[in-house]
Subunit: 227 residues, 2 copies
């Protein structure tokens, strides 16, 4: 008896986040906004990717950024400096964003004025994988200096995503990173995963990502009849 | 009423881990074993530090390693290959080690045969900071390519530790890392924090850490009268 009651509670907690995520998705769809959930280890380069994306989309698409962090508004400041409508969510120590935080953030954004929403999750390769936000596309940012064994050691982070970005490829000559071993690990967990290799620092490889993202946002808006 | 009951439960959960941590500490002290909790982002170089430490302590101190990971035994395999008594703890997806996992691991180790225990926590800069393990010394491994803003963005990880290792200094020429800005962030959170800058890849700076660690272990054993 006690055990079955415990299972019930766990299910109710999970559904609460999923319920809010459905409302977030509906609000984004009504506005014709395509949305991306960026997850990564601390320091993989999520914020640099946001900066490159905001600058690269200038004149193509209108962007907003929601930045999740334990503390400070450093990331949102960088996104705003790059030219985006930017909002900081401080989680107060919580290790992941949840759908309720995104719903609260949306209430402060002018959704009619944007085409694309980038959500930068808390830097954490474990916990964010368990919390859907209602976004359309999950993007994992990996980076070369983290090492080629990360898919094997953090399978849930790789299993659930739609796009993989391998950042900091400019450091490949200076570290021991076996590209074949890394790709094999990714393939086992997420076969055929769309992958963009790039360096946000040098700009190499960024344009292919921008083109794919812009096309995905335009397709989404067209499918919703809001374009 | 409902609210005060909720607080009570939270306190009980916290105390349960701390209670087990006290038992872990007592068992280690009885055996005269000095113990270190290594925390870091994924890919900062905890396992490389363990390898360097196991090899460097050969002939000086007898070591065991407990490796925490979501999945695989890759880290324990590397520690064993370097010559340590090594035990893998798979957390089954949990984002941190807790004291009960360490207590279970100790039951499988021959404490009388070791002087030093290295615990490699799950790669996560957020959650492990909230769970004491009963170890004597908390060591945070940061790395240069993660960026100089990490103390500002992950304050709990820096605030609670006894030693900071800044790894991958061989990459300093290839990334934008302002050492002054990094050190200022650390100083605000943890004034006077003992810091070792090194590269586990090239071996630069490792010896200073080994000397400090060996002295700490010997002092601990002498203080316990077990040496």
């Amino acid at each position: 008896m006690a055990q079955s009651r415990r299972v019930e509670v766990a299910e109710r907690i999970l559904s609460a986040n999923e319920l809010v995520a459905e409302r977030v998705r509906a609000a984004l769809d009504r506005a014709g906004v395509f949305s991306v959930n960026l997850t990564a280890s601390p320091g993989a380069g999520k914020t640099s990717l946001v900066e490159q994306t905001v600058r690269g989309m200038s004149g193509r698409l209108r962007l907003a950024v929601v930045d999740g962090d334990l503390a400070t508004s450093l990331d949102a400041d960088r996104a705003a400096a790059a030219g985006a409508q930017a909002l900081q969510v401080n989680t107060g120590g919580q290790c992941h964003l949840d759908a309720a935080m995104i719903e609260a953030a949306l209430a402060q954004l002018d959704l009619a004025a944007i085409d694309l929403l980038l959500v930068e999750n808390v830097g954490n390769l474990v916990c964010p994988a368990s919390f859907v936000l209602g976004t359309h596309c999950s993007v994992l940012v990996a980076s070369v200096p983290e090492g080629d064994d990360k898919p094997y050691k953090y399978p849930p982070a790789y299993r659930g995503v739609d796009v993989l970005i391998l950042n900091k490829i400019d450091l490949l000559p200076y570290v021991d990173f076996r590209m074949d071993y890394f790709r094999r690990g990714v393939e086992i967990l997420n076969s055929g995963l769309r992958t963009f290799a790039m360096s946000c620092r040098t700009g190499e490889g960024v344009e292919a990502w921008l083109e794919w993202l812009a096309a995905a946002a335009v397709d989404h808006r067209a499918a919703r009849g809001a374009g």
